[in-house]
Symmetry: C2
Subunit: 271 residues, 2 copies
Amino acid sequence: MQTWINGQPAGGIAVADRGLAYGDGVFETIKVRHGQAALLERHLARLVEGCQRLYIPCDLQILTSELHAYMQQLGDGVCKLIVTRGAGQRGYTLPEPCVPQRILQASAVPSWPASYAQQGIQLFNCQLRLSEQPLLAGLKHLNRLEQVLARAEWQDSAYAEGLLLDAQGRVIDGVFSNIFIVAQQQLLTPKLDRAGVAGVMRAELLARAVLAGIEVVECDISLEQLQRADEVFTCNSLYGIWPVRAYAAQYWPVGAVTRKLQCLIKDLVDE
Amino acid sequence: MQTWINGQPAGGIAVADRGLAYGDGVFETIKVRHGQAALLERHLARLVEGCQRLYIPCDLQILTSELHAYMQQLGDGVCKLIVTRGAGQRGYTLPEPCVPQRILQASAVPSWPASYAQQGIQLFNCQLRLSEQPLLAGLKHLNRLEQVLARAEWQDSAYAEGLLLDAQGRVIDGVFSNIFIVAQQQLLTPKLDRAGVAGVMRAELLARAVLAGIEVVECDISLEQLQRADEVFTCNSLYGIWPVRAYAAQYWPVGAVTRKLQCLIKDLVDE
């Protein structure tokens, strides 16, 4: 399906767009089934927060109506939504007036091996350490060179995802996932106020776990804590939950809490 | 003058380009006079280093020949050169094959008040703290949200530039300039191995200062050191050198070393 820019089919974006010049924008990657978005409110909430924190004016009403029309035509697939600050003169000063660009792109849902969700994955040990920037932490903004470099660290398909720490050795997230651990019946996931992307599946899982009576904690998690954990898993909005069966010298069976959470989000993952 | 993409006039870049998706590329902003680039070798050296560190294949011969042809047509102005990794599928994995895109854009040389270079500027005290990422430090890559947010901190035109520190309070650079201080007849400028952009004018100044018998040191510089310095100035390849006459509660006259350096780079700045 063709790309839309501001509601109209289009192939290219102006070279003067600050999305290209500075990565000056935010994006969402939305799973679409039968023309409907999973976790739509969470995607839009994060997008709006991103625009606010970057001072990008965002007309949510127009954006939502374009998104619905696009997803209707798409039917099934992945819809990527980008909002950039739009064109600017040379230099970092915010353009005045600011005319943000809304871009909608479609792709097929990636087909990962079924074993990832069933038997679990092996996590690569990324050497790159995520930098700390509280002003950008949590957002799905377009400055993603750290993820590009981290993903380039391994080619071996034995690793489905890579683990990212910050310079202090705290666990932050995966290259394209969030990380959870289970320790003493508690579900723990890293705080994302200094680095990392606050995934919509992460947020949904935290909410559903609480409703299911599981104790959840957002906190600093050291690599040692992860290695000593009873269970480890990754999640994102496209694939749901992948148990981690191996990281460095550590091996885990798929745990009971992980399986329970997989059941709790079955409606979001099954085709 | 129209934009060129890969040597051909073009207005837009593919939405699937990773320059837009992830800020996955590098750029140079080159001052052009009579069809010739100032500091061309330094611009190209930094671009090549950026491409190497980001694993972007870069055909320097084609790029240089396109650049020369473009500058010839431009005559006088600013030429912005962007190299992106090119189009990719969804996801961070490096595309295979990789078809980098070479983008050339023209704009007029900005006209700053003559007083900036003559009487000096006032530096804004940016609250944003630059994050530390040694893998990206020094490069002029397309992930520039920190600069966008820092520049958005002030609207008052009394401030020509803003000073950026890292989280440890070390002086790194300006939003669009590098910073030098003079203390005890030594010329000091921040090391840029953890954050900051290594400007081509900074490199040229360091080289010319040494030739002129001035002792130069690249080192960590604290905010206190800057405040106690005998002279402070900023530089970039478009405007040359601006003495700093005021920062926070500190005031400086334009110093002798600053004036001498302005003379040393006169050929690069004068119209």
